[in-house]
């Protein structure tokens, strides 16, 4: 039943051209290396690396993760090697591959975002920036940058001013109205919007009467959050005209197709990598099969074909 010509899988996120719409989600695929034994990185739509900060970050004390029903909590606390070490030590490895590399960036102050963006903008082998605005804003007493449209817009503008690379802004779901934030960052110049980051959650160790995570709360990811992710993509997609990248609980090609049909131009695979190190390739293959079986020649033909 398979058609002989392979379906066309390339999609564009603004100027960024991807082989296919399947990326890795930041923080779930290391710096690419960690999965290079399992996955031919050349086959991926893009690799979004672990969130980078100006200085190396120690991250939170353990325990950092806990399993939940259909998902997991993490409080890694953005442990990372810092932008300089990334450029020196990790980027050369990634340059060996013919794959789009997206640097996920993170700051505790506006200035940090600015500096990280600047450094990465000058680095060879980075094809786009993804701005994580879910982190607590040190200037504003810990309220997340991403929960206030004005602050979200300001971060976006600051990063845009530092780079000529496409800027993707990644939204947090822990807000009353995500569409308002999306509109604000679009207006501020975002070239694309990705969503969702993790939902804030918590897990209680009954025996010890303590939190399971040392950090008390953590970010919930995995299939448990897929319904929330789909809803938010649906909300945002109708309010912005820039491309939207769907993230949240995608485990299979079918899950990914749900986001694409809703109107997401691409998707990111997060927690699924942990359960199945081959998940990204399985999703790509699954989408191809779906297109072939349904005699669809080009992935773009199905994006946004959802009928409410």
């Amino acid at each position: 039943m398979k058609s002989k010509t392979s379906p066309q899988m390339a999609v564009n996120i603004g100027q960024l051209k991807l082989k296919n719409p399947v990326m890795t989600a930041s923080g779930t695929f290391g710096y690419g290396e960690e999965y290079s034994g399992y996955v031919d990185l050349n086959r991926l739509g893009a690799i979004v690396v672990k969130g980078l900060s100006l200085k190396p970050r120690l991250g939170n004390p353990p325990p950092r993760i806990m399993e939940t029903a259909g998902g997991m909590l993490n409080a890694v606390g953005l442990q990372n090697i810092g932008v300089d070490t990334f450029i020196e030590e990790k980027l050369p490895f990634l340059r060996n591959y013919d794959v789009a590399v997206i640097a996920n960036i993170y700051g505790e102050t506006y200035d940090e975002y600015k500096k990280v963006a600047k450094k990465l903008s000058a680095a060879k082998g980075v094809h786009a920036l993804e701005v994580n605005i879910s982190c607590p804003n040190v200037n504003k007493g810990g309220v997340s940058f991403g929960s206030d449209p004005k602050i979200a817009a300001r971060v976006t503008r600051i990063v845009k001013d530092e780079t000529s690379q496409p800027v993707i802004v990644k939204l947090t779901p822990n807000v009353t109205d995500i569409a308002i934030i999306a509109e604000a960052v679009e207006k501020a110049g975002a070239d694309a919007i990705s969503l969702i980051n993790t939902l804030t959650g918590m897990s209680v160790n009954l025996k010890a009467r303590k939190p399971h995570l040392k950090n008390i709360t953590g970010g919930l990811s995995g299939p448990a959050i897929k319904p929330v992710a789909l809803r938010m993509v649906w909300q945002v997609i109708r309010r912005v005209s820039v491309p939207v990248i769907g993230i949240g609980g995608i485990m299979t090609a079918e899950d990914a197709l749900e986001f694409l049909i809703l109107g997401a131009k691409a998707v990111q695979i997060g927690t699924a990598n942990f359960i199945n190190p081959h998940a990204t390739i399985d999703v790509i293959e699954g989408i191809k099969n779906y297109l072939s079986n349904n005699k669809i020649k080009d992935i773009n033909e199905i994006i946004g074909t959802f009928q409410p």
Partner: protein, 272 residues
């Protein structure tokens, strides 16, 4: 090295002691030879509850003509291991590995001491087997301290007895061997060993490793331990399995048990 996900077909899965199971499975022969101390991530294909895979050390490994066989020794402590325990012959699991860094093997030492608490024998056992098989080593160089709370929690002893002779068994309540903590039993004999010519390998509950750290504190013994932490990916990507480790300058760093470990130098571990 290309890594893969393997289907393990259960050949045997028996309760060899109270709550302690030995699972034998066969996997395709492309499975790489594990180093002692390495582990696999295991899950039941298609089952999303429990959601994450579980890390289990490779207890024993052999390469046959058309397939490899892997043995896991595990204790039922929660949902995941409970479900593993329920699998019957012919059932399938998904595994990937071998993962992590194995023990550093120094063959030059005169004495090799193993200290295992309960199920902690699992990763050590493969190392003992390895050392015994390597020609350059006399089994007489090996001393094993095997401890647990009670007799029924002592596992892996039969296999050990086939491999080496100098085995001290101890239980907290005295129901088997000496009534003593395994670390105390070692401490009583510590004078027998010279730091320069001895290497220690240990695995067991956190409390056991902590007291071992205290015992060895100012000594010059080299001691490698295998640590456990909750894991999500097992491959070094999620940063979930962090453990506080001193770097050369003595500053705290979070290392990944899965990718930087699970074996660490005891002296480098910062206990909370």
């Amino acid at each position: 090295m290309t890594k893969d996900i393997y289907i393990g077909e259960i050949l045997r899965n028996e309760e060899i002691q109270e709550d302690c199971f030995l699972m034998k499975m066969k996997v395709a022969s492309s499975f790489h030879d594990p180093l002692p101390g390495q582990f696999v991530m295991i899950r039941i294909a298609g089952l999303n509850d429990p959601f994450l895979s579980r890390p289990i050390s490779i207890y024993s490994f052999s390469r046959g003509k058309s397939f490899c066989s892997i043995e896991l020794l595990y204790r039922v402590v929660g949902k995941g291991t409970q479900i593993l325990a329920g699998l019957i012959k012919g059932s399938q699991v998904e595994i990937h590995g071998p993962l992590g860094n194995g023990f550093e093997i120094s063959t030059v030492k005169e004495n090799i001491v193993f200290i295992a608490g309960g199920i902690g024998i699992a990763p050590l056992s493969l190392l003992i087997e390895h050392l015994c098989r390597s020609a350059c080593l006399f089994t007489s160089a090996i001393t094993v301290y095997l401890g647990a709370q009670r007799a029924s929690a002592i596992v892996g002893l039969d296999k050990l007895q086939k491999l080496c002779r100098d085995i001290t068994v101890c239980t907290d309540n005295g129901t088997l061997g000496t009534k003593s903590l395994v670390t105390q039993a070692f401490q009583k004999n510590i004078k027998k060993f010279s730091p320069a010519n001895t290497v220690i390998y240990a695995c067991g509950p956190k409390e056991m490793l902590k007291s071992l750290a205290k015992i060895l504190n100012t000594s010059k013994f080299s001691c490698q331990v295998s640590l456990e932490e909750r894991m999500a990916c097992g491959t070094g990507a999620c940063m979930g399995c962090a453990v506080a480790i001193k770097d050369q300058k003595g500053t705290l760093n979070y290392k990944r048990v899965c990718a930087d470990g699970p074996v660490f130098n005891l002296a480098d571990i910062i206990w909370d």
